[in-house]
C-alpha cells in the first residue's frame, strides 16, 4: 500500500514539475521572439511594396497593433485551447504547418539516432570492455574526431562528394516527386542520416565506453568472474545491463531534442522538416510559427524527460526519493 502511494506521489511530483516547466516555456516563448529587432509587418510590407495604409491594415490583421500585454493574454488563451495561430508570412495555420513538417524531422532524427546509438553502443561496449586494446584506441579516436567535426561542414562535404562528385545520391530534398515511394525517400534520406549519425555516434560511443569502464570496476563483476562465468557471459549478463542505462536515458532524451540537431542538417540538405521551418521563420520574424515550433520542441523534450524519469524511477526505487 505504501509502495503504491510512494509511486503515485513520485509520478505526480514529476508530472507537476513537467507542467510547470511547460508553463514557463509558454511565457518565455512569447517574449523571447518579440525582443528580436524588426517588425514582421513592416518587413512584409517592404517585400510586398505596401502603402502605409495597407501596412497599418496588415498590422491590425496580425494583431500587432494591440498593447503587448493584450497580445500576451490572447496568445496564452489561444495556445491553451490548442490554437497556435496563423503564420504571418504565409497565412497558413501554424498547427498544420508544424504537422506537415514534423514527419521528415522525426524520420531523420529517428533513423539517425537509432543508427548512431546502435553503432555507438556496440563500439562502446567492445572498447570499454577491452580498454586499451587497438580497437578501443581506434574507436576512441574516431569517435572523438567525429564528435569534433562541425555538423554543417560535414554535411556539405558529404553532399558534394556523394551527390555532386559521385552522383550516387540526390542533391537534397525529401523525395523526387509527390509519388516517390519508400525507396525514393530512403535514397534522399541516406546522406542526411549519414551526416547526423556521424555527428552523434561519437557521443554514444564515448558514453557507453565510460559507462562500461565504470561498471567493469564494480565488485559484482569480480564476484561474477569468481563464480566461474566466462568473460562474454559476464559482460552480457552483468556488465551490459547496468552499463547501458545511461544510453537509455540519452536515447530517450534525444527523442525530445527535435530542433537543435536538425536545423543545420536540414538547411544543408534541403530537408523539409521543423528545423528548416524554424530557420526560415527566424529570418522573417514569423512569431506564431516560431512560438509554435519552440513550444512543440520544448514540449517534446519535457515530455520525454518526464517519461525517462518516470520509467527510471518506477524501476529503481532508490531514485524516487531523490
Amino acid at each position: 500500500m505504501s509502495r503504491g502511494a510512494g509511486r503515485l506521489t513520485f509520478v505526480a511530483r514529476k508530472a507537476g514539475w513537467a507542467l510547470l516547466t511547460l508553463a514557463f516555456i509558454l511565457a518565455v516563448n512569447f517574449f523571447l521572439f518579440r525582443i528580436m529587432p524588426g517588425d514582421p509587418a513592416a518587413l512584409l510590407a517592404r517585400s510586398q511594396r505596401l502603402s502605409p495604409e495597407a501596412l497599418a491594415a496588415q498590422r491590425a490583421e496580425f494583431g500587432l497593433d494591440q498593447p503587448l500585454l493584450a497580445q500576451f493574454v490572447t496568445y496564452m488563451r489561444e495556445t491553451v485551447s490548442g490554437n497556435l495561430g496563423v503564420s504571418l508570412v504565409s497565412g497558413l495555420d501554424v498547427t498544420q504547418l508544424i504537422v506537415s513538417r514534423l514527419w521528415p524531422t522525426i524520420l531523420l532524427l529517428g533513423v539517425g539516432t537509432a543508427l548512431a546509438a546502435g553503432i555507438g553502443v556496440i563500439g562502446g561496449i567492445r572498447g570499454g570492455w577491452r580498454r586499451g586494446s587497438s580497437f578501443d584506441s581506434g574507436s576512441l579516436y574516431t569517435s572523438l574526431v567525429l564528435y569534433s567535426t562541425p555538423e554543417g561542414w560535414l554535411g556539405m562535404l558529404l553532399l558534394l562528394t556523394f551527390a555532386g562528385f559521385l552522383g550516387w545520391f540526390p542533391a537534397g530534398g525529401f523525395r523526387s516527386s509527390a509519388d516517390g515511394g519508400p525507396v525514393d525517400v530512403l535514397q534522399h534520406l541516406a546522406l542526411p542520416v549519414l551526416a547526423l549519425s556521424l555527428g552523434y555516434v561519437g557521443q554514444y560511443l564515448l558514453v557507453m565506453r565510460s559507462s562500461m569502464i565504470e561498471v567493469k570496476s564494480m565488485p559484482y563483476i569480480a564476484l561474477a568472474r569468481a563464480k566461474g562465468l566466462t568473460d562474454p557471459d559476464v559482460r552480457r549478463r552483468h556488465a551490459l545491463p547496468n552499463a547501458v542505462l545511461p544510453i537509455f536515458t540519452l536515447v530517450v532524451l534525444s527523442a525530445g531534442f527535435i530542433l537543435g540537431g536538425a536545423i543545420v542538417i536540414e538547411t544543408v540538405f534541403s530537408w523539409p522538416g521543423l528545423g528548416l521551418l524554424t530557420y526560415e521563420a527566424i529570418n522573417t520574424l514569423d512569431y506564431p510559427v516560431l512560438q509554435g515550433v519552440f513550444l512543440v520542441s520544448s514540449g517534446a523534450v519535457i515530455f520525454t524527460a518526464f517519461l525517462a524519469d518516470i520509467t527510471y524511477g518506477l524501476l529503481d526505487p532508490r531514485v524516487r526519493s531523490a
Binding site: 502603402s51 542533391a171 516527386s177
Partner: protein, 632 residues
C-alpha cells in the same frame, strides 16, 4: 530463463515493427497520390519556397511566379518592355478627362473548368480586392473606384479623379467569380487558407499538387486560350542551398535553375550543356544617406547634409570594382533609381555625364569644401570638430551587401572618411531606418515595372514610412506629384526621367550596382525559351508566362520541325541521373494536399515500437539486478 527468452522474442518483434514502420514511411505518405502517367515534365529548381499556394497570400518570389503562371491579368506586361499590353482585354479607352475607362474583353476565354470568362469575373476580382484590402493589389485602385459591366465583354472603370488605371497596368490577377464569390463575406484569414487543387484559372497551367517545403506541380490547362505550351507538366523543386541546386542541374534532376548567385558563375560556366542567363537587374543596391529627423535617437553625421560631401563619396567609390569583385561581373554599376529592367522608364545617364570614379577629385572636392585632414588620416568636420566617421550597417537580406560595404569602407579611407561596417539582420536595419540611428546603410530596392512606387520612396512624406534617410526636397516632391497627375504617357516619361536625373544630381542615395539575377538551364534538355522582357529577361514567369509556354523539350522540337527524323521523343528528354528514380515521363499526380500526411495508425505503431524497444532494454536489466549484491 523463460523470462529471458520471452524478453528476446519481444525485443525482436519490437525491432521488426520499428523497422517496418520506418520503411513504410514513403509509401504511406504518398498513399493519396495516383499513378504516374506519360507526358513531358519541366523541372525548375529554386531556393525560395511556395509556403502558401493561395493567390491572396502571395508573397515570396516563387509564389509570384506560380501565380503569374496560372492566372491572367486584364492587361499584361508586354513581353518586349513590360509596358501594358492586351491580354484578357483587347484594349482600354479613356474618356476625355481620364475618369472613365472602358475596356473590351475577349470573348473566347474559358476557365480551366470550362466556364467562360467574362467581364463580370474581372469586375468581381477588382471589387473583391478592394473590399478585402489585399494590400499589394489595392494600390492599383484609386479611392472610390467602381466597376460596371454593361455587357459580358465590356468593363467600365470609373474613378472620382483622373487616373491612369489600366495604363499601368494593374498588377492584379483575375480570378473566377464562381469559385471565389462564396468567400466574399469571409474574413481574410480564412480566405488566405482556402486550398484547392487543382486551381481554377485561365492561364496555361494550373497547380495540381503541393508537397510542402519540397515541390509544387502544375499541369497544362486544357482550356487555355493562348498558344499551347509544349510541356505537359511543370514542377518547381526547392533547394535550400545553391550548391545542391547546381548539382541537381548537373545531374539533370532539374532543367532550369533560378535564384542563383553570381558566386556560382565559374561553376556553372564549366558545366557542359548549361547556358547561363544574366537577367537585367530589377533590384538595385542602395547606399542611403541619413538626413535625420526621424525621432529622438536620430543622430546622423551632420556633414552628410553637405552635397559636396555626398558627391565626393560618390566619386570615391569604384562601382565597377564592386561589380567585378562582389558580383563577379554579373551586373552593371548603378546609376539611377528606376531599375533597368523597367526598360521603358529607366533613365540611362550618358557616359560623359556619369559621376566618375576619381578619388583625387573627391579629395580635392573635400579639401575645397573645407574638411581638413586630421592627424590619423580622417578628415574633420570644421563645424563640430569631430572626425568624419560613418556608421555603415549592411542588411543581410541583400546579397553582397557586406562585401560591398567593406570595399566601400576601404575606398572611403582613401579620401579621409572612416566607415564602420556593421552587417546586421534586415529586421535590425528596419529598426535603424525607423529610429534614424545610422549614418548610411546598404539595403536594396525592388520595384514594379511602373516607376511610381520607386519614385515615391524619396518624397518628404515618406519619412517615417518608406523613406530611407528622410531626405526632404521640395523640388523633388513637386516633380513626383506632377508625374503622378500627368495622363499623357510621353509627357509623363519626360517627367519621370527628370526626377531620376534630379536624384542622381542631388545624391540622397547612391545606386551602387544593378546586380543581375542569374538563372541557368540545360541546353541539351530544354530549348526555345523566350525570355521576358526580350533579351536579358527572365526564363521563369516573373512578369509573364510566355517564357514557359515557349519552352520546348529538346527532341520534340526537332520532331515537329523535321517531321520526326530525330531519335529522341519527348518522353526521353530527361535525366540520366544516377541514384534517383524519377524520369521525364513521370507526372506528379492529382492532389496530395498536405504532403506528408501520415494516417494516425502509423503514429501509434511507431510509438508502440519505441515503447517496446525501451521495455526490452529494461526487462533485460531485471535478471542482472537479481544477481547483484544488495549493498550500495
Amino acid at each position: 530463463m523463460g523470462r529471458g527468452n520471452f524478453g528476446r522474442w519481444r525485443s525482436r518483434a519490437a525491432l521488426g515493427v520499428a523497422v517496418a514502420a520506418v520503411a513504410m514511411t514513403g509509401g504511406l505518405a504518398t498513399a493519396t497520390s495516383a499513378q504516374a502517367e506519360g507526358g513531358t515534365t519541366l523541372t525548375i529548381g529554386t531556393t525560395v519556397a511556395i509556403d502558401n499556394p493561395n493567390i491572396w497570400a502571395v508573397n515570396s518570389t516563387t509564389e509570384w511566379e506560380s501565380v503569374t503562371l496560372q492566372y491572367d491579368m486584364m492587361l499584361k506586361f508586354s513581353d518586349e518592355d513590360l509596358s501594358a499590353a492586351p491580354s484578357l482585354a483587347t484594349g482600354c479607352e479613356p474618356n476625355a478627362d481620364f475618369r472613365v475607362w472602358t475596356c473590351s474583353i475577349r470573348d473566347d476565354v474559358k476557365w480551366s473548368d470550362g466556364t467562360p470568362l467574362t467581364a463580370k469575373d474581372i469586375a468581381f476580382t477588382y471589387q473583391f480586392v478592394i473590399d478585402h484590402g489585399f494590400g499589394y493589389f489595392t494600390s492599383y485602385f484609386p479611392k472610390g473606384s467602381t466597376f460596371e459591366t454593361p455587357d459580358d465583354y465590356t468593363l467600365v472603370w470609373t474613378t472620382p479623379k483622373p487616373m491612369r488605371g489600366p495604363q499601368l497596368p494593374p498588377w492584379v490577377y483575375i480570378v473566377p467569380e464562381h469559385i471565389w464569390a462564396p468567400y466574399a463575406d469571409k474574413p481574410n484569414k480564412e480566405i488566405k487558407q482556402a486550398s484547392m487543387f487543382p486551381t481554377v484559372a485561365s492561364g496555361p497551367y494550373v497547380m495540381t499538387a503541393a508537397d510542402p517545403g519540397q515541390s509544387w506541380t502544375f499541369e497544362r490547362n486544357p482550356n487555355f486560350w493562348g498558344e499551347a505550351p509544349h510541356y505537359d507538366t511543370i514542377v518547381y523543386r526547392l533547394y535550400t542551398n545553391q550548391e545542391a541546386m547546381v548539382q541537381a542541374l548537373k545531374s539533370g534532376e532539374i532543367q532550369i535553375a533560378e535564384n542563383l548567385e553570381s558566386s556560382l558563375l565559374p561553376a556553372l560556366e564549366s558545366i557542359p550543356n548549361v547556358a547561363v542567363q544574366r537577367v537585367t537587374a530589377d533590384t538595385w543596391i542602395n547606399l542611403a544617406f541619413n538626413f535625420g529627423g526621424q525621432g529622438p535617437d536620430s543622430n546622423p553625421l551632420p556633414a552628410l547634409q553637405d552635397l559636396q560631401v555626398r558627391k565626393a563619396i560618390a566619386m570615391a567609390i569604384d562601382k565597377q570594382a564592386i561589380v567585378d569583385k562582389v558580383y563577379l561581373g554579373a551586373g552593371a554599376p548603378g546609376e539611377t533609381i528606376v531599375r533597368p529592367l523597367s526598360v521603358y522608364w529607366h533613365l540611362d545617364i550618358p557616359d560623359d555625364q556619369v559621376i566618375p570614379y576619381d578619388p583625387a577629385a573627391a579629395n580635392a572636392m573635400l579639401d575645397e569644401a573645407g574638411y581638413p585632414m586630421g592627424p590619423d588620416g580622417i578628415r574633420l568636420d570644421p563645424a563640430t570638430g569631430q572626425p568624419l566617421i560613418l556608421r555603415l550597417p549592411t542588411s543581410n537580406d541583400t546579397p553582397g551587401s557586406e562585401a560591398a560595404g567593406r570595399m566601400i569602407a576601404s575606398f572611403l579611407e582613401q579620401v579621409g572618411i572612416k566607415a564602420e561596417v556593421q552587417p546586421v539582420s534586415a529586421g535590425k536595419v528596419y529598426d535603424m531606418q525607423q529610429s534614424g540611428d545610422f549614418d548610411a546603410y546598404i539595403w536594396y530596392w525592388s520595384g514594379d515595372p511602373d516607376p511610381n512606387y520607386q519614385l515615391s520612396v524619396f518624397t518628404s512624406d515618406q519619412c517615417g514610412d518608406l523613406s530611407d534617410g528622410c531626405w526632404k526636397d521640395a523640388t523633388y516632391d513637386a516633380l513626383y506629384a506632377q508625374q503622378g497627375e500627368e495622363m499623357n504617357q510621353d509627357a509623363r516619361l519626360a517627367l519621370v526621367k527628370q526626377a531620376q536625373q534630379y536624384v542622381y544630381d542631388q545624391v540622397p542615395a547612391i545606386v551602387i550596382a544593378y546586380p543581375n539575377s542569374i538563372a541557368a538551364y540545360r541546353t541539351d534538355l530544354v530549348t526555345g525559351i523566350v525570355p521576358v522582357p526580350a533579351g536579358d529577361g527572365y526564363l521563369t514567369p516573373m512578369y509573364s508566362y510566355t517564357s514557359l509556354v515557349t519552352a520546348t523539350p529538346v527532341g520534340a522540337e526537332e520532331a515537329t520541325d523535321n517531321g520526326g527524323d530525330s531519335a529522341s521523343t519527348p518522353a526521353e528528354t530527361d535525366s540520366d541521373s544516377a541514384g534517383s528514380d524519377q524520369a521525364a515521363g513521370q507526372e506528379a499526380s492529382a492532389d496530395t494536399g498536405s504532403g506528408g500526411g501520415i494516417p494516425a495508425w502509423v503514429w501509434i505503431v511507431v510509438i508502440v515500437a519505441i515503447v517496446l524497444v525501451v521495455a526490452f532494454v529494461v526487462i533485460r536489466r531485471r535478471p542482472a539486478a537479481a544477481d547483484r549484491p544488495d549493498s550500495e
